[in-house]
Symmetry: C2
Subunit: 463 residues, 2 copies
């Protein structure tokens, strides 16, 4: 980690005057704020500040703008593509203390929260309301961070992603303007879609300080099931057929044999260590039964096992906790290693081919490889479990990822279904979007952040 | 209509050289392209051109940019807020000849069309595919126009609006760049959301030439029903309770007694001329039955009648055709008059209050007034049937609309749920969004169209 000359830094002086104790330059804090949960190395900021309000964010932005000091918005650091790496130094604005749930409106099925509220905190708040917020990326991320990366996760196949479930944002811009992007109407044709401009902008266009979310009614009945297959191909075929039949599954997760082995070990479960679908059905009791029967038939046609049901809430929770702990379960397969997680997403008809080719290419890899995915969306992750000290492993992972991304894009897909670009995938943006679209993205960045104050080096490739 | 000196206009000369017979300055063509379907007066363009390809649009934009000649993209002219009015003259780019369905991909449940393909044309193309495109604004609009106005309509309560159902666009920018906004993956976190930047931009940021849409599986069972209520309040209460109970109705349309009277006359039907919900349920046979039973119970609790079912496709078509013909049915109630249609959308809990107040205010109006709405979305329309030659009626309609819009915004709603801003509602943008958001919209417009070439005078209020 670089040692900044923090004693002579007027930006940090200004931030200290503003935040007092809530501004830190301690190495441990800086180190903790310079990394997410992936293989990307730590790039520590020069300082960390904990604003408590939108007004304080405005004041901090003002100070940083005056001194051209970069700002990296920070939630809880669960990102996977180096989003929080302070590539050009500056301050990490840690929003975790802006964690008030401002207004729950059950009768409108929406909620407004400060950006630092986490997914689980909201879940807890809603537990007796009959409502829930479905977007679930696994990690207990902040809702501001989830908006910023356009997160999705296991429920997206039925409930959509942050793109569909954010109603409005409050955003602090580089020039100090505070923009409320929309009202709370479920639909509106009143002008440019400012909400979607910031959803997925990864902290590069402004600092999200408040989020209004759409909630959904808790389904009357929920049933989870596990179905094993002789091969990944057959599990994927079942998922594709389920989507194409329009069966409204709530969750449909692929886990290959390696993943199942890691899950069984880490979460002390005893599922067959072979290709598996974790399924969940939401609806009325009758509709859940009907959906399950339909998917069961498709699975049987692909040599799937009978469903192993998790009907009681505690069984279901154990199942999905195991799914959520996958990142840690995978890490436990090779202590000391890091996971390089790929994240392509392709049109559903191309999913089988894309997964097959990715697994074929990785078969020779010198490290443990997992395949899992939100297959109902056409999104899957290869996990390359690498020793960061071994350049050969890192290079092999990089080569495999690049090959996979190119293949996915050639199939009409994207380099990232849900993790975001960060700086890990900036180099694929032109391949995916073309020069014209990337140049338009550059214009947007320049329009909102002409001095490149917000999270520099992310999303866009070097010009 | 102004008479432009078309003989000495170098922009028109250039367009004539490019388009030949497909460039017209005939008064009848110009007149037809200067108006939508609402009360807004005709503002004819100086010329009308019919491009046949994205390349021709690029060439036309190049000519117009050189001569600073405004461009108004035109679909089939079904807009309601003066979107196609050539406020500063220029050329109407009529995209109706770009009407090829480029690629239907049933296995991915998506389709790519040229912007001039209409909703019904697509419907026809998909009729044997098992798939359908749900966005249905009533009019047989072009899909490019529907994207440009962020249209929705009767199915939005279940399937979303154009915001949720456009996967990608091809857009010609003012400087000639052709941007493909996204690939076909169902979700992506790869950079700024260019698709949503153009959905709802009403031709002010670029010319949409191709649209890739998400399709949905045709439901196994469909049932439509009509339910009458003693009062609008009770019908609205039923709609609100249905939404809050999370029942996934596919359509839920409110029609007041005046509308029903107009419908009965125009479509030769015999429904009671009282507040009514038109409902449609999609799903498996069992789920349709279940949904209907649940809504039936809620309706009964609000003194609703037993459902009158339209089960056979031809009965259903008659019902929804009557709903779609409402605009014309209303016009027939007062020959020679125009409909001033309001379009507010509010959070669902405020819908009853908003409708009650709007109807109370309109009770004294000197003209026929209807109330109808996509009440599941919190969106409704008052129809003021006015004599355009009577300034007092026009003023009364304007006053009522303004009062309604202010009320809706104070309730957390929007001045336009689906019709768009055009120039009719530009004056409400600051009230609804605030100075900061409107200034950001201005920046976006300036970034993409610094010479104000595209559809000038729309969306944004005069600076």
């Amino acid at each position: 980690m670089d040692t900044p000359s923090t004693l002579e830094n007027p930006a940090i002086d200004g931030l200290r005057a503003l935040f007092g104790e809530r501004c830190s330059t301690r190495p441990a804090e800086r180190e903790q704020h310079g990394r997410g949960e992936s293989y990307h190395p730590c790039r520590a900021p020069d300082a960390v500040c904990w604003p408590g309000s939108t007004d304080e964010v405005v004041a901090a932005v003002e100070i940083c703008r005056r001194h051209r000091f970069p700002i990296v918005p920070f939630g809880v650091g669960t990102s996977l593509e180096g989003h929080v790496a302070a590539l050009e130094g500056g301050v990490a604005l840690d929003l975790s203390r802006m964690n008030r749930i401002l207004m729950v409106r059950p009768e409108d099925m929406d909620v407004t929260v400060e950006a630092g509220v986490t997914r689980k905190q909201l879940d807890q708040e809603l537990r007796d309301s009959g409502l829930f917020f479905p977007i679930d990326p696994g990690a207990d991320a902040t809702l501001g961070g989830m908006a910023a990366t356009r997160a999705s996760g296991t429920n997206a196949v039925r409930y959509g992603t942050m793109r569909e479930n954010v109603l409005a944002l409050t955003v602090v811009l580089a020039d100090g303007r505070v923009v409320k992007t929309a009202n709370r109407a479920r639909k509106s044709s009143a002008g440019y879609d400012l909400t979607r401009l910031f959803v997925g902008s990864e902290g590069t266009l402004g600092v999200i300080t408040e989020v209004t979310l759409r909630l959904h009614g808790r389904p009357e009945a929920v049933a989870s099931a596990v179905c094993s297959f002789p091969s990944v191909d057959q599990a994927v075929a079942t998922a594709m057929e389920t989507v194409q039949a329009g069966i409204p599954v709530a969750r449909m997760e692929l886990l290959d044999g390696n993943v199942m082995e890691a899950v069984n070990r880490f979460s002390k479960l005893d599922y067959p260590a072979t290709a598996t679908l974790f399924l969940e059905f939401h609806g009325s009791a009758a509709s859940v039964e009907e959906q399950a029967a339909m998917v069961g038939e498709l699975a049987a046609g692909n040599d799937g096992s009978a469903f192993r049901w998790a009907l009681r809430p505690e069984e279901r929770n154990a199942l999905w906790q195991a799914r959520h702990d996958l990142h840690y379960a995978t890490l436990a397969m090779r202590p000391g290693a890091k996971v390089w997680g790929t994240d392509v997403c392709v049109p559903i008809s191309a999913l089988g081919e894309c997964i097959r080719e990715a697994r074929r290419a990785a078969a020779e890899a010198p490290f443990f490889v997992t395949t899992l995915g939100h297959v109902g969306d056409g999104n899957f992750h290869m996990g390359y479990l690498i020793d960061m000290a071994d350049p050969a492993e890192l290079q092999a992972a990089e080569r495999l990822n690049e090959r996979l991304v190119r293949h996915a894009i050639s199939l009409g897909g994207t380099c990232t279904g849900e993790h975001g670009v960060g700086y890990g995938k900036a180099k694929f943006m032109t391949l995916e979007h073309g020069d014209a679209a990337v140049s338009l993205m550059r214009q947007i960045k320049h329009m909102l952040d002409p001095e490149n104050l917000f999270n520099p080096g992310k999303i866009l490739p070097p010009a």
